[in-house]
Amino acid sequence: MSILILIFVGLFAGILGSILGLGGGVIVTPILVLGFNLPIHYSIAAIIIAVIGTSTGSSIAYLKDDLLNIRLGMFLEIFTTIGALIGAVLTGVFAPNYLNFFFGALLIYQAYNMFQKLRGKKPDLLAVKNDKYAEYFHLNSRYFDKLNNKEVDYYVEKTLLGALIMLGAGFASGLLGIGSGSFKVFAMDSAMKVPLKPSSATSNFMMGVTAATSALIYFFNGTVRLEIVVPIVIGIVFGSTLGSRIMPKMNNKLIRQIFIPVVVLSGIQLVIKAFGVNLY
């Protein structure tokens, strides 16, 4: 019975995660900790592996649908992996309270930013070709917009700022086990002006690599509870395969409408955690 519940949890997390470009930890963590009484330590391990499932499952469709920006993903992985490395070195060195507050506030800011785009105050505008790093590293690309049935050429701007946020994203996911996807979408969508769908797809693509190191560590040190992780991952792969088929046909407005509450929720959770309030 619990196997079926876990598969369904995975299915739901996979659909949502693949559409938004997130790992799905926001959904899976509370269910595991509150519903299954799984200690947080084991939950983090489960989520890191779930991230890989979402990443792989959705990237298959996004590669086929011509949504992904492989070079941008590879280039930015330099920074997420360095961030994760710094996180791994610093584990246990200092109290994560300030960090929780900082990253929580950043997530809420991201939600605010998205809200402005939703209300049309800062509508989705394509960046103009003016970034020398984007030019040098060949990051400018195009994607196929299934909704309007046309190829969209886009440019990347503020490459350095995006790289810096990615450094933070890798750091946060390595040290705190959070936000493997949301900060990546933030960097691409808000800072680098990559259109929302390639942002989400590329975030999904990168997520698996950022998570792989920690997942391997957890796998070998015995924090992985097979009877819990495996059903979730199976559900997640099916869910993300499904979600990645729906996403290209959705409009940006709807994607943002789902994204905002999810990000606000994780942001608030981190901020209150900084003040010693643990929801679980």
């Binding site: 592996i49 086929k64 590879m74 992996t81 195009r142 886009y154 560590i217 796998f219 097979l226 009877e227």
Partner: protein
């Protein structure tokens, strides 16, 4: 028209599909064995999960070869560097 690596998309899609496919089959098999209380189910589940975890790493390794074949040396270097940092992070985290 801006850059696009169509060949890369095709090959990487193939790598991910094979990795996820094999892993899923083994994990589902293991899950059925676990339900039937087979003694070896944990081993099978571990193997399936391990393949799932390894798939993104194999994807990075595969892109090095594809970039090399396209003579895109800048991205060969970038990807090699990513692989190096990944290994370093694993070694440090594992020994902690």
């Amino acid at each position: 028209m801006n850059n696009k690596d169509l060949k890369m998309e095709k090959y990487l899609g193939w790598v991910l599909r094979v990795g996820a496919g094999i892993s899923m089959i083994i994990m589902i098999l293991g899950l059925i064995m676990a339900i039937l209380h087979n003694r070896n189910s944990d081993l099978i589940l571990s193997v399936g999960l391990f393949i799932m975890i390894l798939t993104p790493v194999i994807r990075v390794v595969a892109s090095i070869f594809i970039f090399a074949e396209e003579k895109n040396w800048m991205y060969v270097k970038i990807t090699l560097f990513v692989l190096f940092v990944l290994s370093l992070a694993f070694l440090i985290g594992y020994n902690k």
